[in-house]
């Protein structure tokens, strides 16, 4: 079985919607195959797809593995599917950024930082399954604490929260402000 382990895993990945975890693979493949062997086979697949310059490659996201297209072919896919690419508004992106980097957070924390009421955006992000309720804070009114979801990791192609891009230092921000046209 070990000979074609890579091919077996490839077939499992092919038929799975969403990311397939090592744990799930292990439960399917049984006791004869060790986790180490599975990991090696998955690594091997990743290398193969990368090396062969396929249109899609094996990504590690949200604690699992999934075939995804290469970003450079996006325009063709958008054309084929005739879809308008999923977009998050600037406001939604900022709100999501605060939640992602500072979770668990209260809605009031986010609103304080952004300087605007954000209830509508929270609703949208909840609907899109990008954020979720983590619990309630031990404060009067027991306000809700929010964090990001597994879906968030999937959408942003992150293996885990620790893989969020690191932020720039304040000094750098001043020089190159986001969406700035004017250089100071």
């Amino acid at each position: 079985m070990a000979d074609n382990l890579k091919a077996i895993i490839e077939s499992l990945l092919f038929v799975t919607d969403g990311a397939l975890s090592i744990k799930r693979l292990k439960s399917v493949l049984g006791d004869d195959i060790t986790v180490q062997e599975i990991k090696e086979a998955v690594r091997g697949l990743m290398v193969d797809y990368e090396a062969e310059k396929r249109g899609f490659i094996l990504h590690e996201v949200a604690g699992g593995y999934q075939f995804r297209t290469r970003p450079e072919y996006k325009e063709w896919i958008v054309k084929l599917k005739q879809l308008s690419p999923a977009r998050l508004s600037r406001a939604a992106l900022e709100t999501l950024a605060v939640i992602a980097y500072k979770q668990p957070v209260l809605r009031t924390d986010v609103e304080h930082l952004r300087g605007v009421d954000s209830s509508g955006i929270f609703r949208t992000l909840l609907e899109k399954d990008l954020i979720r309720v983590l619990g309630r804070k031990d404060l009067p009114g027991r306000p809700i604490l929010y964090g990001t979801t597994r879906r968030f990791l999937e959408v942003f192609g992150l293996r885990e929260l620790g893989c969020l891009p690191s932020l720039d230092e304040m000094e750098q921000l001043e020089i190159s402000w986001p969406s700035g046209s004017k250089s100071s």
Binding site: I77, A86, A97, G115, R142, W177
Partner: protein, 240 residues
Amino acid sequence: MTMTEAYKVQLKDVFEGPMDLLVHLVKKNDVDIYDIPIAIIVEQYLGYMEIMEELSLEVSGDFLVMAASLMHIKSRMLIPAEQDNDEETEDPRMEIVRPLEEFLRIRNAADKLSGLSLLDRDIFCRPATEEMTDMAKDLRSLRPVGLFELIDAFQRIAKGISKEHLVDITKEMISVKQKISELMEILDEKKDITFQELFIGEHSREMLIITFLAVLEMIRLNLIRVMQHADSGIIRIYGG
């Protein structure tokens, strides 16, 4: 002009807020955020607010709050720092500098997120097949369930359980929260579950109620959708 007056464009949620305006002004005037010429900035800020009013844009209260704090800072700048005060008096402008710093950090974080390769924008995966089509097929015969129907369904399940337990409210508050995270985990794995399955293994009336309250709270928070099959009458909970 009466036409435009009737139609107010909502800026909230999608468009920029007062902090963006402030950043815009700081940039436009090419000034240091640690040394903001507050009088000039206040004047221009109010100018923008006027323009927005004229354009019939729905200027949210947040813009007014920011205008008020800017004017407050301006007035404090006019009062000379008291000499006899031992404590070092802070530059009143710090009140706005700190939030501004935080805000720039957030914009940076948002840019970083946006710079990643996003699913369904830059990167695509195979569309979910069977499950989704089943769901889509199902959707035609599915309809949302109202609160009272849910209560009815709950009562059918709760019937037969001893009614002697009274619910301890304080205990319940904690448990509902726990129940929600429990149910979220189940739904993360299973995608959907029938209403009845939710209550399997719960034998006390108290736990049944807690589970039910958790479901209601999750509906309110938009964490789940509850649908009923038109033919079978089965109520099913869908995550996300």
